[in-house]
């Protein structure tokens, strides 16, 4: 992803990076937190103007990517966003767009408003009391004369209280379907949910007989499993890419600390116990980058191996990143556990991502099941 040999991509990367450094600094993140805000709507519109929301969208639907490889470009944005633990609905908007562009019928205007940054949407896929199981919803969509009626509860919906639209996974006539639901529709009740991230907020959303028109459905029943697979892949590789950006940044200042901090008259990085810990961090970091790059490439090319590659990356990055950041806290000593030091901002985001959209353990099971299927065929 840092392979920005392509000049347009290089320009895009540097524009994105300077925008993030200026407008989404760690200081700004702390201000948003203090104000109880998860992101600034106007800021998101400007991010959209830089092209962040258009990368997965084909030109005929008003989008376009920088290098011709939209998934890789988007992963680059996520990696850069990780460097400052940027706020904003990049993941939920990208995930919803990934589904909508596969089945754009009746949703052209929604796509346009998401691309422009005017509207924020989020994927309502989790349900209370259940772990990652996107194809097993209890929320129901019942056929009515004019369309569908939605009943049930979703939760852990990122930015669910901030956006006017939700893409809801529901059970409908024996099939899993997805529906676009406006949050201002009668019968939608939203309660914010706190997360361990400094700014990212989530929501519990209750649907009590929410009436929708025919056109609210996204894709056919036959298409839906494929759409959900694609949306999951996008959500998961974006998490991995953002974590790579987080690790890259934290490692850089933690390594510098190893040169600058002196104990017993020596830089602490000269002690073998610490040097070996640094070596392990370097090994795991390169492995996180390698597996994330591999997953991005498979998703970008819509390879049959994409599910496997994404689960491998999500498991590996999820298993290692939080522990690596805790190692960085340990290398910093007491300052590392203070509110004042920025380490916890990074640790919070990486820990959030470890467990959302499938834990390492859940992805290990998935990798085993895919391997079993391959060896049976």
């Amino acid at each position: 992803m840092t392979d920005v040999a392509n000049p347009e991509r290089l320009l895009f990367a540097s524009t994105t990076q300077s925008f993030l450094e200026k407008e989404a600094s760690l200081g700004r993140l702390r201000e948003l937190h203090a104000a109880g805000t998860s992101f600034d709507v106007d800021w998101w519109r400007r991010a959209a103007e830089l092209g962040w929301t258009s990368l997965l969208v084909p030109e005929e639907l008003g989008g376009g990517s920088v290098s011709g490889d939209g998934v890789a470009d988007l992963a680059l944005v996520a990696e850069l966003a990780g460097r400052t633990v940027a706020p904003g609905p990049l993941h939920p908007v990208s995930t919803v767009l990934a589904g909508l562009v596969e089945a754009p019928e009746n949703h052209e205007e929604t796509i346009e408003s998401l691309v422009s940054g005017e509207v924020v949407a989020s994927w309502a896929v989790y349900e209370p009391g259940k772990q990652w199981s996107p194809l097993d919803p209890a929320v129901t969509a019942t056929r009515t004369d004019t369309g569908y009626r939605i009943d049930g509860v979703k939760d852990r919906v990122e930015a669910g209280a901030e956006g006017p639209l939700l893409l809801v996974v529901a059970q409908c006539e024996g099939a899993v379907r997805q529906f676009l639901v406006p949050t201002n529709a009668p019968g939608v009740h939203i309660e914010p949910q706190r997360s361990i991230d400094l700014v990212k907020s989530y929501a519990r959303v209750q649907f009590d007989g929410v009436e929708l028109g025919e056109s609210a459905a996204v894709g056919s029943a036959e298409q839906t499993a494929g759409l959900i697979a694609r949306q999951s892949q996008i959500a998961q590789v974006l998490q991995c890419a953002e974590v790579v950006g987080i690790l890259d940044t934290v490692m850089a200042f933690t390594i510098q600390w190893g040169f600058d901090r002196h104990s017993f008259g020596r830089p602490i990085g000269s002690y073998q116990a610490l040097k070996h810990k640094y070596a392990d961090l370097k090994i795991w970091f390169e492995a996180c980058r390698a597996t994330t790059n591999a997953a991005v490439a498979e998703v970008a090319s819509r390879s049959p191996g994409a599910d496997m590659a994404v689960s491998v990356a999500k498991s590996y990055v999820g298993e290692h990143a939080p522990g690596m950041l805790q190692d960085c806290v340990q290398l910093h000593g007491g300052i590392g556990v203070t509110w004042e030091h920025d380490l916890h901002l990074f640790l919070r985001r990486a820990t959030l991502y470890r467990s959302m959209f499938g834990t390492p353990e859940e992805h290990n099971l998935r990798v085993y099941a895919l391997t079993e299927r391959e060896s049976a065929s």
Binding site: Y278, E286, A290, N293, A294, S311, Y316, E319, E361, L365
Partner: protein, 418 residues
């Protein structure tokens, strides 16, 4: 000293023409094999070595030996693209793959870099004809990681060198003709400056050779004892007291060979089925745990780590090539290789449970046995501790470890308490 890459030579034959000629010759002359089920070539047995010499002789007679070695020493003097083409053509044929390392990729390559004209003519072409197997006599019982601290001594007696000491961990020395042996010739200078490399005939009087039996039963490694072994000046490789330079070339060639990056290797097949990856699906079925979520999760984790290791090898290979990663990043792969082995052997042990430690006649006890020699992956080819030092010091730039022997005449350096 430049890398011992073969100089381009005057050939009118294109790579494609060469490949076509090789294809025809292989079909006519070499035994076919199934590359997924290669013939077992246990390096601890005599027979595979005799077979390898025979196969090498066939390659020599057919004019396909030493594709990247210079012509004056018996090779073909062709660029690496010709070797790659030959590897591709020969994958379905029985090849003397156990001769690749250390004979060709390390020993012959080092002799090419540092040997005398006479040594190059004798030993490189000898190896290419299948007449000579070469090994390294570097490590000593007195120490592993501190290679330059060797205490095997070579003393000047008249116009001869008198060798006394011991070497260990030499791969298949029992099957070899010559070994590159590092000995101390000056004890009054710091450790790197008093070493000399010798080329020793393994069957010389004064050498006693003993097999090392490993925990897993393998007997491929040997230990050698030298009692007043006599060598002439013609046995010196490079210059007297410049042996560390020669050893450094060996280490350089070894690292390249282990990563699969040597142009002097010919044939790319496996050495047998003993090193096949663990089949977790079969393991869970055999142990009645196909539906056990705990076992499935553990196996899935091992598969994840295996996949990431392969992705990392690719990432590091290209990173070093394009300069985005430090040239010493091979150590990242070296450690990950060991860590992945650990995880896999631990996982297999856990999954097989009691079936891995008591033989029920279903071969699952192999999982217990493989676990017993788990640490070989973290020791052979340099310990993971040394590799972590390399990452910490050379890649990340932290200060080097304190060495009590730096700049000190070797005679005064503290050694093992006996």
């Amino acid at each position: 000293m430049t890398d011992a890459t073969a100089a381009p030579t005057q050939t009118d034959e294109s790579v494609e023409e060469f490949a076509a000629r090789a294809r025809a010759w292989l079909a006519e002359n070499m035994p076919r094999i199934d590359p997924d089920n290669p013939p077992e070539a246990d390096r601890g047995e005599e027979a595979p070595w005799l077979r390898a010499r025979e196969l090498q002789r066939m390659l020599w007679d057919g004019g396909f030996a030493g594709i990247c070695f210079p012509r004056e020493y018996g090779g073909l003097g062709l660029p690496i693209a010709y070797q790659k083409a030959f590897d591709n053509e020969s994958r379905n044929y029985e090849m003397p793959v156990i001769l690749n390392t250390p004979t060709f990729t390390i020993c012959a390559a080092t002799i090419l870099d540092t040997g005398s004209e006479e040594q190059k003519r004798q030993h490189i072409s000898g190896a290419l004809r299948g007449d000579e197997v070469l090994v390294q006599l570097l490590s000593e019982p007195s120490g592993g990681s501190d290679l330059a601290g060797v205490i095997t001594r070579a003393d000047r007696v008249g116009d001869k060198w008198m060798i006394n000491g011991a070497k260990t961990w030499s791969t298949s020395a029992f099957a070899a003709d010559y070994g590159l042996m590092l000995a101390r010739t000056n004890w009054d200078v710091p450790k790197h400056e008093g070493l000399t490399m010798f080329l020793v005939p393994i069957d010389s009087p004064g050498i006693t050779l003993r097999r090392i039996k490993q925990v897993n039963g393998s007997v491929e490694f040997c230990e050698e004892f030298f009692d007043n072994l006599e060598l002439g000046d013609d046995a010196v490789v490079g210059e007297v007291n410049q042996g560390w330079h020669v050893a450094s070339r060996q280490l350089h060639h070894e690292r390249r060979a282990v990563g699969g990056g040597s142009e002097f290797a010919s044939g790319i097949g496996a050495e047998g089925k003993t090193d096949m990856p663990i089949d977790y699906v079969a393991l869970l079925q055999k142990t009645g745990q196909a539906d056990n979520e705990r076992a499935r999760e553990m196996a899935g984790r091992a598969l994840v780590h295996r996949a990431v290791r392969d992705q990392l090898i690719d990432h590091v290979y290209h990173g070093v090539l394009d300069g985005s990663l430090h040239p010493a990043s091979g150590s990242i792969i070296r450690i990950t290789h060991a860590e992945t082995h650990h995880l896999e052997f631990d996982t297999a042990l856990a999954i097989t449970g009691s079936s891995g430690v008591v033989d029920e006649g279903n071969d699952l006890i192999r999982c217990g046995e493989r676990f017993l020699s788990r640490q070989t992956a973290a020791l052979g080819g340099g310990t993971t501790e040394i590799a972590r030092n390399i990452i910490g010091e050379r890649i990340l730039g932290f200060p080097r470890e304190y060495a009590a022997d730096r700049g000190v005449p070797f005679r005064e350096v503290k050694r093992n308490k006996s």
